[in-house]
């Protein structure tokens, strides 16, 4: 598998800030990998997302060190528009993602395509497809500014998906969605990932992280403290000190072990946890 993201000794300090938001961060992401970035608020997760898509250094000003390469292109040299051909970000606050230049949701979804000179027929086709995927067909004629937070979050996803990036960066992007709505969106993300799209996701929901991630990156005070598979990361007994909770699936596995009912394995997914619990009942 080729490497699509290479972050090397990267540091960034926002203009006028006293301490760097990220310090000497290095990691790589392979094509098709599902990476989750976790950590306490203020650990540098959103800053890292902004650096991956080129908003740092092109939009946010400050001092950088080291490099971020996306598909081999250094983000310091490539423009945000060029980078958007490969990598797309869904913002934490969906209202920050709106262009505020579109009168309708359909125009909002098509905005990025317009900038790329895509034909109107192709635009219509993709807007239809994405609006069906995101269940927002009935919102296409509405003004984006009149929508609820959850609805805007769906539009924000749609306006990123429509550009068909090979790498998706998702920054806590379902916090305003109802539980089934969020799981619908993660099913779509998982399908895209299965079809080869690389996913880099920031999330506080540790059950979801354990369920989906190939690799978990734990950030703490701007640095990477721990990297590994969900099993490697969540089996660490001191994981809470990085400001993250242990997934309930892991808590249950450990609880069963303590009562002599477990098999020493840690369940990481819903399916594994159900199988583990069934085994205890049937024993």
């Amino acid at each position: 598998m080729k490497t699509v993201v290479e972050v090397e000794h990267y540091s960034f300090i926002y203009q006028d800030a006293k301490v760097p938001a990220i310090k000497d961060v290095s990691f790589t992401v392979r094509e098709g990998e599902f990476v989750c970035i976790v950590g306490a608020n203020g650990a540098g997760k959103t800053t890292l997302c902004n650096a991956l898509v080129g908003l740092i250094p092109h939009y946010f000003t400050g001092e950088t060190e080291g490099s971020v390469r996306i598909n081999g292109a250094d983000t310091a040299d490539a423009s945000v528009a060029d980078l958007s051909n490969y990598i797309g970000l869904v913002f934490q606050n969906p209202f920050n993602q709106l262009t505020y230049a579109s009168g309708t949701v359909a125009e909002e979804l098509a905005y990025g395509l317009g900038n790329r000179g895509v034909s109107r027929d192709e635009m219509r086709r993709r807007v239809k497809l994405v609006s069906q995927l995101m269940h927002i067909e009935d919102l296409l004629d509405r003004d984006p500014l009149e929508l609820s937070g959850g609805q805007v979050q769906r539009v924000a996803f749609g306006s990123t998906f429509i550009l068909e990036p090979n790498i998706l960066v998702l920054d806590e992007c379902t916090t305003q969605l109802d539980p089934l709505g969020a799981s619908e969106i993660f099913d779509i993300v998982k399908q895209l990932n299965a079809s080869g799209v690389t996913v880099i996701m920031v999330d506080h929901d540790m059950e979801r992280v354990a369920q989906y991630a190939d690799t978990v990156v734990v950030m703490d005070h701007g640095q990477i403290s721990l990297t590994g598979t969900p099993r490697e990361v969540f089996s660490a007994s001191d994981i809470n000190r990085y400001g993250i909770d242990t997934p309930d699936y892991v808590k249950l596995s450990k609880g069963l072990d303590r009562r002599g009912l477990g098999d020493g394995e840690l369940a990481m997914t819903y399916e594994q946890t159900v199988a583990m619990a069934k085994e205890v009942i049937d024993r």
Binding site: D178, A182, H204, E207, D248, Y249, V274, A277, R283
Partner: protein
């Protein structure tokens, strides 16, 4: 205190009917979570509770007095509403001023205000941030600043709109402690939330809303056992509850130790 909604409806000026025929009653130091899909009317309902929005149909009474008879600022002494987005709520130069603003407006003396600020700052973890501009706080701190400003008013009921949204683990723990303190003080706690782990850990009653109406109203056990009904309002039970349901456990469990115990019981029943 008692909040009663009798056949309450609310329509926005656009003609959208956000609430229809709501009959609910909240009493004493109850803790109530309001859950349901996006656009179900949860925030519209919560904003009725201290008069930020007034019913366009039916009546809402607080301790038997119809809400339409008084101003929102009068009701805010009884029922505090914490906005989902703190930027909609905060407008002063420092955290200290945010905390002091409401109490000062209702004539609380400066000495009491200072004492309350110290207590609320400790509860919200903002002791070292009192002289900071709210715009310079982290998103979590800002959220706690909004909560603190409401708690400062010492209302009989606190209504939280999506308090866990954007919170990390430490924020969740702090919020849990803060709600427990409000409980100790005998206050009513009402929260809108999409975070089902938070709901079952902090609330004794759950109201499920769907398309402007109340779909189910009951204990967490009653509500989260009705998976198909919940699905109608785009809600799923918390992760460990879903696992227990997945293995066919009859009881509804919400926390890991409870589930471990049930599994141990099931295991020994099987072997006896």
């Amino acid at each position: 205190m008692k909040i009663e909604l009798n056949d309450v409806g609310y329509s926005y000026q656009t003609g959208h009917h956000a609430l229809e025929h709501i009959n609910l009653s909240f009493e004493g130091n109850q803790s109530v979570a309001i859950i349901g899909q996006n656009g179900a009317g949860k925030t519209t309902l919560a904003k009725q509770l201290n008069g930020i929005l007034r019913p366009t149909q039916g009546t809402l009474k607080i301790d038997g007095i119809e809400i339409s008879g008084r101003t929102t600022s009068e009701w805010s002494k009884r029922v505090g509403y914490v906005f989902q987005n703190p930027d909609d709520q905060l407008f002063l130069e420092t955290v200290r001023e945010e905390f002091a603003f409401g109490p000062r407006n209702i004539g609380m003396d400066e000495e009491t205000i200072e004492r309350c600020i110290a207590k609320v700052a400790a509860l919200t973890g903002l002791q070292d941030k009192l002289d900071v501009h709210p715009a310079d706080l982290s998103p979590t701190e800002k959220k706690f600043c909004g909560i603190g400003a409401v708690v400062m008013m010492d209302p009989d009921a606190v209504v939280f709109d999506e308090p866990t949204c954007g919170q990390d683990y430490a924020g969740d723990v702090r919020l849990h402690d803060l709600i427990a303190e409000l409980k100790r003080e005998g206050k009513m706690r009402i929260a809108i939330s999409h975070d089902m782990k938070f709901v079952v850990a902090n609330f004794d009653r759950v109201v499920v809303m769907c398309q402007g109406k109340v779909l189910v109203d009951g204990t967490p056990e009653e509500v989260f056992s009705q998976v198909d009904v919940l699905r109608k309002s785009y809600v799923t039970p918390p992760p460990i509850t879903r696992v227990a349901q997945g293995v066919g456990l009859k009881e509804t469990v919400f926390i890991v130790p409870q589930f471990v115990e049930k599994l141990e019981d099931a295991c020994s029943a099987q072997n006896s």
